[in-house]
């Protein structure tokens, strides 16, 4: 900049010198200097005009005028600003291009939405999975193009922690999993993933278990039937009878496992159809007590019950029977003779109906408790397999509780006993007067 000002000073000096000479020659000093200064101003005005013209046409760097003096610095600075802008634009453009390449390569449909759910941007997969066309659909609300009522409800809810599964709007047979992620300044990122094969695999798994169990049940039933009639023979050799009884026991166990597998697979495959009848739990509990009465006598257990006879439950009768039966049988099976088993059916402090089975048996070590509801999990394989049971009881109980919107809790103090607590949601409680149930 200093150089520019120096040059400018030289030019001014030059004009003044010409003025001086003109004055000397013509002897009109005042006119001479005045003329020189006016020429200086006009000369500057001319450069000003050239600069303006350059700026007006967009200040193209290669068309920069060659201006003297201070004007050169102006041109220089404008040129510098221009170049920095170009560079920045170049960087932005290449970043945008890279992003676009990444987005196109994503196997999931991706859509950027504004706060009003209007479409800002969508990638190509979004077009095939969701029918959203970019750039034609920019500015349209996404719920105008994806009209599935479940999707509308999901959008309206505003809470997107859980993803949503819906059939693709464009291709019915494809199931897609939609996630909405808020980002930036009130914008949303919507991703759609094709999960059809995942859904198919799940269905295949369930069908497989159900089919296998069905297939096994028939031959097992035949075996059990014949064994029963064989054992009815009066004149059987002692040893032979023992052998047959052992076979019968194992067959019965296999049948039990198959039956439980079928029940579990059924519970898993219809998630939405829980009947909502008023189930008379007190009566059910008494029935189960009756069912196990002889077992209890044989095994030397003590069974006691504390039942609120005025408390009923809204749910599925068969499933609840299965739940109670499983827990009571477990208690009998996995505790030593003489153990006291107590059944309780009451509302808790938060008015939730609670069913619990407690025993004062051996108890369960802390590390096993989280795994108890796994299928076929055995705390002590040798001991408990002999006791019988399918290994699926707690898995079934857990599923039934889930379907009823409740939870299963397990408490235990090793050496002092264990408790299995089923907590149902308060809304399922039905209170009647004790006499009515």
């Amino acid at each position: 900049m200093l150089k520019a000002w120096n040059e400018e000073k030289l030019w001014l000096l030059g004009f003044l010198t010409v003025g001086f000479i003109a004055g000397m020659v013509t002897d009109h000093w005042k006119l001479g200097f005045l003329g020189a200064l006016m020429a200086y101003v006009v000369w500057h005005a001319w450069h000003f005009v050239r600069l303006l013209e350059w700026l007006r046409l967009g200040a193209a760097p290669h068309k920069a005028p060659d201006l003297p003096g201070a004007w050169e610095s102006v041109v220089g600075y404008v040129y510098g600003v221009q170049r920095r802008n170009q560079q920045r634009k170049g960087r932005l453009r290449s970043a945008l291009d890279r992003f676009k390449q990444v987005a196109v390569a994503l196997p999931d449909g991706t859509v950027v939405l504004s706060g009003n759910h209007e479409i800002d941007w969508a990638n190509q997969v979004a077009e095939s999975l969701l029918g959203i066309k970019y750039p034609q659909d920019v500015g349209r609300r996404i719920d105008n193009l994806i009209r599935n009522p479940a999707f509308h409800a999901y959008l309206k809810k505003g809470r997107y922690e859980e993803p949503l599964d819906i059939p693709s709007p464009t291709q019915d047979h494809i199931e897609i999993n939609i996630r909405i992620i808020p980002f930036g300044d009130g914008e949303y990122l919507l991703t759609a993933r094709d999960i059809s094969s995942f859904v198919r695999v799940q269905a295949m798994r369930r069908d497989f278990v159900a089919n296998v169990s069905h297939e096994l049940r028939t031959p097992l039933t035949v075996m059990a039937g014949y064994l029963e009639s064989l054992l009815e023979e009066k004149d059987l050799d002692q040893e032979f009878r023992r052998v047959l009884e052992s076979i019968e026991q194992q067959t019965s166990r296999m049948l039990h496992i198959v039956r439980d597998l079928l029940e579990l697979s059924r519970l898993e495959s219809d998630p939405n159809q829980l009947p909502e009848h008023e189930v008379r739990i007190p009566a059910l509990l008494e029935a189960v007590q009756g069912e196990v009465a002889h077992l209890v006598r044989e095994s030397g257990h003590q069974l006691e019950a504390d039942i609120d006879h005025g408390l009923l439950l809204k749910g599925g009768e068969k499933e609840l029977h299965s739940l109670v039966s499983n827990l009571v049988h477990n208690a009998i099976r996995h505790t030593p003779s003489g153990t006291r088993i107590s059944i309780k059916w009451r509302l808790d402090r938060l008015n939730r109906p609670v069913f619990r089975v407690d025993d004062n048996g051996r108890g369960i070590e802390k590390e096993h408790i989280p795994r108890l509801t796994e299928r076929f999990y055995r705390v002590d394989p040798g001991r408990s397999r002999d006791a019988g049971g399918s290994g699926l009881g707690l898995a079934i109980v857990k599923h039934i509780m889930q379907r009823h919107g409740g939870s299963l809790e397990i408490e235990s103090t090793p050496g002092a006993g264990a408790g299995f607590i089923c907590v149902f949601p308060a809304r399922r409680a039905v209170i009647v007067s004790s006499k009515a149930s």
Binding site: G131, Q136, D143, N144, P149, H152, Q273
Partner: protein, 238 residues
């Protein structure tokens, strides 16, 4: 296809109200699409529970129709819209009427499914409806997409494809008649399939109506009651 300019009227709030109505109409459209899909599925898979759900969900469609109708009437009374805005409102009012009718046809499908499921499964007769059903669903989807995008070209295409639906319907009728002639015991069940096919064909007709309203709304040209060839000329001339 340029977006219909909603900025010609003065009030921001008015624009918002029009936008709300359009969103509600498309929501209603989505509901109806779901009903038709479920009704068809219930029939083809003999799913009585699903059919029951369809039949008992029709009230939602009717509720929306009443809501939107009231909103439109209010706008006419309070805002006294003119020109393109008035066309939008008129088109919306007519569209919801046709959508509600489609909902009724879907309800019929649901009721048939319930009846069907309680008897023995009809041996594959109802599966014949699958192809016709798919065509009708695709038309409905295309029509509602055209409404969302204000795309008269797509609306034209869908309107013209209704011809295919009618052809398919007639072919199905002929097939069903031969079934009845071959085995008089099947008449009752085949008749039921016919009623369902009729319902689907009606859905196709209502869809075509909505396409005509879209074209009227966007182009300001009334194309009802003129042949489709003339329609193309009318559209391309604007």
């Amino acid at each position: 296809m340029p977006k219909l300019s909603l900025s010609e009227h003065t009030s921001q709030q008015f624009e918002q109200e029009l936008e709300d109505i359009r969103n509600k109409v498309l929501t209603m459209g989505g509901l109806v699409e779901q009903q038709v899909a479920d009704g068809l599925k219930a029939l083809i898979e003999s799913d009585g529970a699903l059919g029951q759900t369809v039949a008992t969900s029709d009230y939602k469609v009717n509720q929306l129709e009443v809501e939107i109708d009231e909103a439109c009437t209010e706008i006419i009374a309070l805002r006294q819209p003119a020109a393109s805005d008035l066309r939008i409102i008129m088109a919306m009012i007519k569209t919801i009427t046709d959508l509600e009718r489609i909902g009724d046809e879907a309800e019929k499908l649901g009721n048939f499914a319930v009846e069907l499921a309680s008897v023995d499964r009809a041996p594959g007769y109802f599966v014949k409806l699958k192809h016709l059903g798919e065509q009708v669903r695709e038309s409905l989807r295309g029509c509602l997409d055209a409404l969302a995008r204000q795309d008269t070209e797509q609306a034209m295409q869908v309107a013209m494809s209704d011809q295919m639906v009618n052809t398919e319907f007639e072919a199905l009728m002929r097939q069903l008649i031969t079934f009845m002639m071959e085995d008089p015991r099947s008449i009752r069940r085949v008749l039921q399939v016919m009623w369902c096919a009729r319902a689907l064909e009606r859905i196709g007709d209502h869809t075509k109506n909505v396409c005509e309203y879209i074209i009227f709304m966007v182009k300001g040209k009334d194309i009802r009651h003129i042949s489709l060839n003339e329609v193309e000329q009318v559209i391309s001339s604007s």
